[in-house]
Symmetry: C2
Subunit: 326 residues, 2 copies
């Protein structure tokens, strides 16, 4: 959910440790912290996502309307990762003086995103900010059989939707002072939460564990590996790079550690996603789906390089924050 | 939910208007924006509450642990106003550099508050802040018959729990540069969300509309009046001032417009709360419950002064923010 260059580093490790040590969940709570969202009986899925000016978005890069759309997409992406259908969003917004117009544009972007899925803005909070624009979006959906990060089994195939690295490439452009090409800009400014593809995959029993790619493939694969108690083996040659990365230096690094793609990484029973299934998925959603590796016994994430050398551990990149403790 | 001196004024009126004009709610949503919380089938109650350093709390006044407790109490107070039993909280926290210890104390305060009600921390988000400490707390509860602001009927009695004005008096002390006496400090630093009293009132059918007092009696009464399509008539002589306000100048003003009390204002059918019921309530909760007025046809809020003069409109005070549009 975050733009990698601004990571808080190890400073928050104690808070994460503190949150990991949680008391048992009360009756009525099916799933507490540690996944993309919490799940409450009978089928309610709830997630919360911060979007802070100067951390998660920059109004020199995108418009306030886009920032709202993007923050809502990031929140909805958590629902996609749970295989949940959206019901609505709640938006808490703090605005510095003089930014009421930006606030209205943000809210219109948020509304557009949720209403496109038949959901609604269910509420929120609004106040002034003595700092930058602060936004927290609560996503609420329903899933009768939620997809957990912990559902992977040894031998499962790992797949990703769409293409990776485009958003991070756009950020790199902006940070170097040059506006990104349109295709990369779009990848960053207007990611598409993979709600319908996720529902399709759940409906056909083609996914039994999933996470959305907010921190980069390597970091999010590590979350899925840890939650499933397994090792992720990635194959660099199969990673579907964003077309805008053709000829761009460091494409692998951007895909592995760049973040902000909001594609899905999911595990499925070997063969569950047949070639015909892949074809139908692509036709239905006009979206790639690519096998990038598998789950094996062990821990961590290893990568087989495209040049055929031995698999080696991937140093965890991406943005290490409380998200994985949810 | 907010400290009144920091109101955003009229600047956000357009955003509020924009949010008021919402599309119809999707199936599965029983109640959208406009009350203390949203309600989703079958009985889920969800609210979100901002708590921002320098707006809602000041670490020169209270400790980080207290700030966490207080923010959680404010969020839980929304559940109380809906007659809901808490299930859990999600906490989104943004911390400036060097404040990891304060963050841990905040989170421990939040956990203490929710765990005391048998609920749990269900998740959240954690990132760095380029400004002050920014906290958004999502409260999730259950209510089979939620108490709405709109449930009032003409002739209903209006009651409040506890005592009013203490928290605002403490704020006035701090702002004048002198620490408040202990009792006032406690009223501000550690408000008690009226969860169990609310459940008691719902269970005995002694409340059919309610709101929590975050903006001050006048402002929150105005919300209840507007939602019920009625007029609130308050009797100044009956307002239960905080004991720490004895001899304090401007006590009425503090109770009406001060905010931060987190007591309940509720409407009940005439006679539904009998003298015996009042006695039992006081004994059970060691808490006052006081009749302060009634609902009549009309609109707005009028106050009969303690000196017996004619009732006059109360200019809406308190902190006018998006809270009422939720």
């Amino acid at each position: 959910v975050t733009t990698p260059p601004f990571g808080p580093g190890r400073e928050f490790d104690r808070i994460r440790a503190f949150l990991r040590d949680l008391s048992p969940m009360p009756a009525g709570v099916l799933l507490g912290p540690g996944d993309d969202a919490a799940v409450l009986e009978p089928d309610l899925v709830i997630s919360t996502d911060l979007a802070i000016e100067g951390v998660h978005f920059d109004l020199d890069w995108i418009t306030p309307h886009e920032a709202g759309r993007r923050a809502a997409a990031a929140a909805l992406s958590d629902l996609a990762a749970m295989g949940a259908a959206p019901q609505g969003l709640l938006a808490s917004l703090a605005l510095p003086p003089g930014s009421a117009e930006a606030g209205e544009a943000l809210m219109s972007g948020i509304r557009a995103r949720i209403e496109a899925f038949g959901g609604a803005l269910l509420g929120g909070d609004l106040t002034r900010s003595p700092g930058p624009i602060f936004l927290d979006i609560v996503a609420v959906g329903r899933a009768s059989t939620p997809l957990l990060r912990s559902g992977g089994r040894p031998g499962d195939e790992l797949w990703v939707t769409g293409h990776l690295g485009g958003a991070a490439a756009a950020v790199r452009n902006w940070q170097a002072g040059s506006p990104p090409p349109d295709a990369l800009r779009r990848a960053y400014a207007d990611p598409e939460p993979r709600i319908l593809p996720a529902l399709w995959l759940v409906g056909r029993e083609c996914a039994r564990a999933a996470i959305d790619l907010s921190d980069g493939l390597a970091g999010d694969a590590a979350h899925l590996a840890a939650a499933s108690g397994l090792r992720v083996e990635l194959d660099a040659a199969s990673i579907p790079f964003h077309p805008g990365l053709a000829g761009v230096e460091g494409a692998l690094e951007l895909a592995l550690h760049g973040g902000d793609d909001y594609e899905l990484l999911f595990a499925c029973r070997p063969g569950a996603l047949s070639p015909e299934g892949v074809e139908e998925f692509r036709r239905t959603f006009d979206l790639e789906v690519t096998r990038v590796g598998l789950l094996t016994t062990g821990k961590g994430v290893v990568l087989s390089p495209a040049d055929g050398g031995p698999a080696r551990p991937v140093v965890r990149g991406g943005y290490d924050h409380f998200h994985d403790e949810r």
